[in-house]
Symmetry: C2
Subunit: 242 residues, 2 copies
């Protein structure tokens, strides 16, 4: 079968060899020309990405005042974010009882996409004065460096004395959402080690942080639907303890 690999030529200068050499040369030229055309296509692809990024940045800006207005309205509703989180099947699966106690004090959630959207995002969680920690805002942020390497970092939580054990009595492990698709789960009863607050110290999967992406891409675009609609497709296993 035909191959682009160079075939060693015999020394014989018969007609056949000359034709072969001519064909090889033409093919080699065609390959070089394809490579040049490909460079033009690549250049257009880059231009397209840049233009799309600009559109996204423009609309991020025009959405901003509405997000601000929405935040102001949400502040009027006690436990809005807690309720939205509890009603979200994937986030809910992550919450243990201690998480739920502390999240009663969550007053505001804010997702910031960085100006160069490709480079990352930050989620700010604002808390009322509470018996668990001293922070008013706890954040986690995700970055991609120039070579596309992902990383994340978080605010250090200043636990009040005695509360570290209460909330961190479970080992800091890689926080996973996917295994528990079947709605809300009381993980601490099952010897599991998931926790909302452990997520802040979990930087193992910065490039595809599941909770970060659920909040950014699913909850933040429309949190009202989760506040209003309790556990669609869930068999309401946790209704009895409310």
């Amino acid at each position: 079968m035909a191959s682009q690999a160079k075939v060693a030529k015999s020394d014989g200068k018969n007609n056949h060899d000359n034709i072969d050499e001519q064909a090889d040369k033409e093919q080699q030229e065609a390959i070089e020309q394809i490579d040049e055309v490909q460079n033009e296509i690549d250049r257009l692809n880059e231009q397209a990405s840049e233009e799309i990024l600009k559109v996204e940045q423009k609309f991020n800006k025009s959405r901003q005042p509405f997000f601000q207005k929405r935040s102001d309205l949400i502040a009027k509703i006690p436990n809005f974010w807690f309720t939205a989180f509890v009603n979200h099947p994937q986030v809910s699966a992550l919450l243990n009882e201690e998480d739920e106690e502390a999240l009663q004090y969550l007053t505001k959630v804010e997702v910031q996409e960085f100006e160069d959207i490709k480079s990352g995002y930050k989620i700010n969680f604002s808390f009322d004065t509470n018996p668990y920690f001293d922070n008013e805002i706890i954040s986690k942020e995700f970055h991609l460096n120039d070579t596309g390497e992902p990383s994340s970092k978080s605010t250090t939580i200043k636990w009040k004395s005695g509360k570290v054990e209460l909330l961190q009595n479970i080992a800091v492990t890689h926080v996973r959402l996917t295994p528990s698709k079947g709605g809300r789960k009381r993980n601490h009863d099952e010897g599991d080690q998931e926790s909302f607050f452990n997520w802040f110290s979990d930087h193992n999967d910065a490039g595809a942080d599941e909770l970060g992406e659920v909040i950014k891409d699913d909850i933040w675009p429309n949190p009202l639907q989760y506040y209003l609609v309790s556990d669609l497709g869930d068999d309401d296993i946790d209704e009895e303890d409310e």
Copy 2:
């Protein structure tokens, strides 16, 4: 814990009840206002999608003459597409010996994104006169209807008599690429039922057709890299039969 659920009020008209009612009413108003703000955000999201689609359409148009030029150049290289397919780990895994014989006659591959890109794409495969089938062009196309329902359809292959059995001697099953990640595999030796030509009659996964998407998103953007680079990360198991 606080809940947005309506709480039945007692008849007592004491001060506390009035305060509760007032708070309920304010929260209800806030929810309605959040809903209105959310509609504005949704509208901006739609506008953003439309603008991004326009950018993609514009660049699809400007890329077109380069794709045409590339096709003309590729036509000068015998077995260009066959070689690119054989060198692509996922496509190669799908090819049985009969596929490879027939693909020797493949002269042109063309990916067309529909004007409304969201609505689908079509892949045309052009063939030289060959002993297997009478078609000059065999196509498979993928559509999304208005409700987002995916579907696919293909050219009926007009097999020459006796060749139906040769190429279709394996049951038409759901063509899967993912299970065989480890490079090229001679599936027919392993009792497997994958085949390139069976893919044309497989419409089970139109919304996420693996071979279609590999060709459209991975090979078509830069086929030269697969033509030139043979099986990266493969242990060259098939070199002995060439």
